[in-house]
């Protein structure tokens, strides 16, 4: 019985909690990508950099608040700076739309041209970030780091295995729940949200119903800005902020959106967790788990690891390829390929 509990704690500590928090970050990112895809109808390669930009602004203001000795006590100061980051990210999105994307939308350019354009935006935003904040790794989480340390848990329960709960993980999951509920409430229940779904569903008919495309696009960028900034900041808070990492993050984010069914917000969220859990579960060494759960003679000698952690990143793409082969429209039917 104790062994069973220990094995459960192992799973919880190394798979479920990290998976939930990483999955939440991917889900928020993928939701942003899917919004752009559903309304503006292109794959936005700049999304990773938009996330990074939001995190950067949040960090700058976190530093400012810290220098003024303004804080939130046990909570990280970044939460206080987050709204400013969100506003800045929204402004960035709107500016990039006004000066870049809008032109091609009015030209009715094909999606692949818009994707190319987004690469241009990606370069520019990437450069701005590097010029402003450099390329160093930045840790900006303060406040109480752990809600529960592994040792505390051991003492508390008397188990062999510890369960650590970082505050960044709890904040991630908490904020994700709030944002996701708000987004889905907005899409399902409000008139504006419904008009966005209508626009995504059938643009011509939406125009015939008097839905104003400019307003839909504007609100889309606002939502994308909020989601991207929060996702970027949470990722940085959890793992530490490194500007170049976001370019790599864009791939699992895309994978999540496509696996779930691109253009489908619910699919994007599910896709985020699917990708996160697969990455972690396929590269986790289960030795410890099996040592607890199996009787002595059956205990494995190796690490019981499907793939080395080096390939964490490759996992998301392998899943993407498999999904595209078996069910090209994603788990929850997205737009037709």
């Amino acid at each position: 019985m104790i062994d069973f509990l220990n094995s459960l704690v192992v799973l919880l500590n190394f798979i479920i909690i990290p998976g939930l928090s990483y999955g939440s970050q991917l889900a928020l990112g993928a939701l942003g990508v899917t919004f752009v895809y559903a309304i503006l109808r292109f794959a936005n390669f700049a999304h990773g950099e938009i996330m990074s930009f939001g995190a950067m602004i949040t960090i700058l203001f976190t530093w400012f608040f810290q220098s003024q000795n303004i804080g939130l006590g046990i909570l990280p100061t970044a939460l206080l700076a987050l709204p400013i980051g969100i506003i800045a990210t929204i402004i960035l999105c709107i500016i990039s739309d006004k000066f870049v994307f809008q032109y091609y939308r009015h030209q009715k350019s094909v999606p692949v041209v818009l994707a190319m354009v987004s690469i241009g935006v990606m370069f520019v935003v990437n450069a701005i970030i590097r010029i402003i904040i450099g390329t160093e790794t930045i840790k900006f989480s303060d406040g109480q780091k752990f809600i529960m340390k592994a040792k505390q848990f051991k003492v508390m329960t008397g188990l062999n295995e510890g369960l650590a709960l970082k505050s960044s993980q709890v904040i991630t999951i908490f904020l994700t729940i709030i944002l996701l509920s708000f987004t889905f409430w907005f899409l399902q229940k409000t008139k504006t949200g419904k008009s966005m779904r209508a626009f995504s569903d059938n643009e011509d008919l939406a125009l015939l119903s008097g839905i104003n495309p400019d307003r839909v696009v504007f609100i889309t960028w606002m939502i994308v800005g909020v989601l991207a900034c929060v996702a970027g900041t949470l990722y940085g808070l959890d793992k530490s902020y490194k500007p170049i990492i976001y370019l790599n993050l864009v791939l699992p984010v895309f994978a999540s959106a496509i696996v779930g069914g691109i253009g489908n917000p619910f699919g994007a969220v599910v896709g985020g967790y699917v990708i996160a859990f697969s990455e972690i579960m396929i590269t986790y060494a289960y030795k410890k788990f099996f040592v607890y759960i199996l009787p002595g003679p059956l205990e494995p000698s190796g690490l019981v690891q499907l793939l080395s952690t080096d390939y964490k990143f490759a996992v998301s793409f392998t899943i993407l390829v498999i999904v595209l082969l078996i069910r090209p429209s994603g788990i929850f039917k997205g737009r037709v390929l």
Partner: protein, 234 residues
Amino acid sequence: MNNLIGKNLTAGYGGVDIIKDINLEVNEGEIVVIVGPNGAGKSTAMKALLGMLSLTSGSVEYSNKEISSMLPQNRINLGLAFVPQTNNVFTGMTVEENLEMGGFLREDDIIHTINDVYDLFPILKEKRNQSAGELSGGQRQQVAFGRALMTKPKILMLDEPTAGVSPIVMDELFSRIIEVRKTGVGILMVEQNAKQALGIADRGYVLVNGKNSRDGSGEELLNNPAVRKSFLGG
């Protein structure tokens, strides 16, 4: 009285004029049908009235007001409504949401209008929470029709409302169209099923090769031997 008049309309796609010098008129409370052989420019004429393609020459007037340069969205606001032939519902949304979107521009309470539509098409009330993409062809046409009615239009334009539905459904749709006319709405429709359409029409236009060929009351056209011969099947 509200009316929509197209004067000397010439328009087309990519520099090629499909309709040439066409005149059309529809008044409140009447059913007007545009018939003609395939490729005669029937749908094009209707789209030109709505502003979905730009005019090479000619003008569109609504209640004595020139609206030729107005965007389609803004014409909707004036009291025009349009049901396209295909892709005319939001497939991913429920029936009720489709109707709500139809009334997007309305500031007042749209619940009464929704109920009116449900009275007109009782089956939609039954399926109100089902997504429109799951409905049958005829039911979809009803949703499309209902969506257009949500703006409380003065003039309603229908592009082949009975395309691809069974004869029974077609009869039902036509009887609904007549009911709608009773509320004072002017209806302009393009129809492939010319015989039946002219049967319910107050007036009709025959287009051939992008030009006005003949017009008159529905009965007149139905009884005209030349019209009968050319495309009513004798």
